[in-house]
Amino acid sequence: MEGGGSHENKGTRDLAAFLIKRLAQAIFVVIAVTLTVAFAIRLTGDPALMLTQGAGSVTEADLVRIREGLGLNEPFFVQYLHFLKGIVTLDFGRSFLGGTPVSLLIGKALPATLALAFTSLIVSIVISIPLGIKAATARGKWADQMIRILSLVGLSFPNFWLATMLVLLFAIALPLLPPSGMDGIASFILPAVTMGIILTATNVRLVRTTMLETLRSQYIMVARAKGLSENTVLYKHALRNCAIPLITYFGLQFGGLLGGIVVVERVFNWPGLGTLAFDAVGARDYPVLQAVITVLSLMIIGINLIVDIAYGLVDPRVRTE
């Protein structure tokens, strides 16, 4: 009993140390990323000029006045420190374009992006696991070849093209689904399928390879020798052992997904982080862009952490180590 307790304490201490280390890493990454973004975007254009485009003759005095209003007259590092303070207090300031609080914009866009990314990943997992297993079990046969060709085709679609084709087919030729926007469950289908198809293309191959390796293991041979049904062998024994590499990959993919969602969001006019970032770059809206980048990097860090923890859940060896 006693031994067990101290073991648990040690485990908690290890976990604490692990989390602290991760937190330190997270702070470093956020600072590195936002510093680069904040610096780079300031090299490429003046928001005051963007605001007064088409304003006719704007004098230098007007520009100075507007810059002052936006807080751009302060030195770069002072501006950056304000921003860092904002991260801690969750107050990212106001958008240069219209003065909407940035936290409000993020608060609306983040759930929209997460919902779409999550749905896309589910779509892709639901398609790629059965297809990948089929390809692995029918290795070299007709079904495997077809699945591999289809995945190659899927891989070569540019997402904006695929999106446009799906819209033409299912929103205009057959008016079944809304072509854009986020209103109701139906509006998730086209963007999630677009993203899902592109993800599936790579995921099928991953599932197939992982499955092939697992099926060569001795315990699969044992399971089969025991006379278990093929489905039990595949889905209970093999799939569970494939889980670690798959979870790692899907998790990392979720991070990549958040970055790659920009184009799909724009085509489907999805009110998410991608759309927000796209507009912010165009308008040189520093506070919005910096906040979006910060949120995205925090999420990617968070996902990596979750992936690490999830290992423990599916693989008892990681838990006890």
């Binding site: 485009q53 006719g56 085509v267």
Partner: protein, 511 residues
């Protein structure tokens, strides 16, 4: 049987009563118009913006003292009449009586004073609108329905500017009570439609104001969806979820898609935007006016309009369209004459094969095609043109203002005042941001002089002289005035396309 009959009668009576109760309302205002606009301005406060897509929404919410409708004639708005006094140094406005803001607040002289105190004070200083109204010294309340505008300098364009964005009258009590940030997202004006809801980056919803002084709108609801991507906006139009796509959204290349759909139509009006390739008049071969003329004459601008722009543009002789005050019908573009162009180049001592660089905005597909055609025409007169696309912000904020362009650079311009003063000063006056190369005392003098003239006809003459002088010096290759292109569902009736994005949907009906 009798019982059943009575039951039926009661039912009929109920239906009749119900329809009687609802009919008058639905006869007054029915139907919803959904508009796709390419940009969310982020704030609905008039002093925060210069974006035309602010105006395409907010013209329905706010009114100014003056109003400029689709025909671009200045008519009374919230002011019923005005007198220009003391050589333009004082303007007295008589205000419309009995008008209320959407929140019930009275519109009166105090509201006008509040609006301009705010615009010219600290709050206005944070935004881009103030600089347009700097000629106003102060607004004085004479009585509840009379105000005097005291001017710092006579401003011939001020009456037009009062119909412009910053001149929209705002409710004093509402703003003082709720604050500016709240007003940004919950606008209140005197206009034909009342604000209902706004979701940033998604939509803004308005409802008819039955008490509008210009008459109640014929539709009951108005929604703007913000859709930046042209293909997406057109898909929404085709799917029937949007009734109208407003500029600047639809590129020339997408017109056939809309025209090919029997439920849809393309409606155009002359737009405010003019395009030119301007010259580096300081360095290289384009320093010589003869070379600049040769380059203009070497390019068949009419053919470009016909083939690349599908006829959706008008050729221009100066850097303004026919809607602009200062436009001169008598002025004709330099003719397309490659032989004369080559002769001029020879005269100027330019050897065949001389190189020029054309700088342009990399995100405007249509203009890139135009530039490619221009480059081909120049090739034919012995000039090798290379095209250099920039990211728009970099071109506008760095390359042009800092004089780092090639021999020619794209300039598109859509001054909302539609007064050549605005354009000409920005393009030609020494030291202006858009004029990194040229400095001409005669031009500066003309530009300064027209600003002091309050006589409309006389000022127009000076503006025309400026246009002619710029053309004589061949300061730019004037290309065309592009149409404003609207995609519309045929369910929408009585829609008048506007040249300046100041859409007002009072007369529109939706079937």
């Amino acid at each position: 049987m009798i019982k059943m009959k009575r039951g039926l009668q009661t039912a009929f009576a109920a239906v009749a009563l119900a329809s009687a109760a609802f009919l008058p309302v639905s006869a007054m205002a029915a139907g919803k118009l959904t508009v796709s606009s390419p940009q969310d301005p982020g704030s609905w406060d008039p002093i925060d913006t210069f974006l035309v897509n602010w105006a395409s929404v907010a013209t329905n919410i706010f009114d100014g003292l003056t109003y400029r409708g689709p025909d671009l004639k200045l008519v009374p708005g919230l002011a019923t009449s005005w007198d220009v006094l003391d050589n333009g140094m004082r303007i007295r406005f008589k205000l419309r009586e009995g008008v209320k803001f959407h929140n019930g607040e009275d519109f009166n002289a105090e509201a006008v004073k509040f609006t301009f105190d705010r615009l010219l004070g600290a709050e206005g200083a944070k935004g881009p609108q103030q600089s347009n109204y700097n000629s106003i010294a102060s607004v004085e309340v004479i009585d509840a329905n009379t105000v005097d505008f005291k001017m710092k300098v006579a401003d011939p364009v001020i009456l037009t500017k009062l119909a412009g964005y910053g001149g929209m009258i705002v409710p004093p009590k509402y703003i003082q009570e709720k604050g500016d940030a709240y007003f940004n997202a919950h606008p209140v004006g005197t206009g034909a439609f009342k604000f209902v809801s706004y979701e940033p980056k998604v939509n803004i919803v308005l409802a008819a104001n039955p008490d509008y002084f210009g008459g109640a709108p014929k539709i009951s609801d108005l929604e703007y969806k913000f859709i930046a991507e042209p293909a997406t906006a057109v898909a929404e139009l085709q799917a029937g979820r949007v009734d109208l796509v407003i500029p600047p959204t639809i590129p020339i290349g997408m017109i056939p898609t809309i025209q090919g759909d029997s439920k849809l139509a393309v409606v155009t009006s002359p737009g405010p935007t003019v395009y030119a390739l301007r010259f580096n008049t300081r360095d290289g071969i384009t320093k010589d006016p003869k070379v600049r003329q040769a380059l203009i004459m070497g390019v068949d601008r009419d053919a470009i309009i016909k083939s690349i722009l599908g006829g959706q543009a008008e050729p221009i002789a100066s850097f303004q369209g026919p809607l602009s005050f200062g436009f001169d019908k008598a002025m004709k573009p330099l003719p397309y004459d490659p032989a004369k162009a080559q002769a001029l180049l020879k005269e100027a001592g330019v050897a065949p094969g001389a190189a020029v660089q054309i700088d342009l905005r990399g995100n405007e597909a249509t203009f890139i095609e135009v530039a490619q055609a221009i480059s081909a025409y120049l090739q034919a007169i012995g000039i090798t043109a290379t095209i250099k696309p920039y990211e728009t912000n970099v071109l506008l904020n760095d390359i042009i203002p800092n004089g780092k362009t090639g021999a020619m650079f794209q300039q598109s311009w859509g001054g909302w005042t539609l007064d050549y003063d605005n354009t000409a000063v920005a393009m030609y006056h020494t030291g202006e941001k858009w004029n990194p190369y040229d400095s001409d005392p005669k031009m500066d003098e003309l530009l300064a002089r027209q600003r002091t003239i309050t006589d409309v006809a006389e000022r127009e003459k000076v503006l025309q002289e400026i246009a002619q002088y710029a053309a004589d010096r061949a300061l730019e290759m004037p290309l065309y005035n592009l149409n404003a292109i609207f995609g519309i569902s045929k369910r929408v009736k009585n829609f008048t396309p506007v040249p300046d994005s100041r859409l007002k949907f009072t007369d529109v009906t939706v079937e």
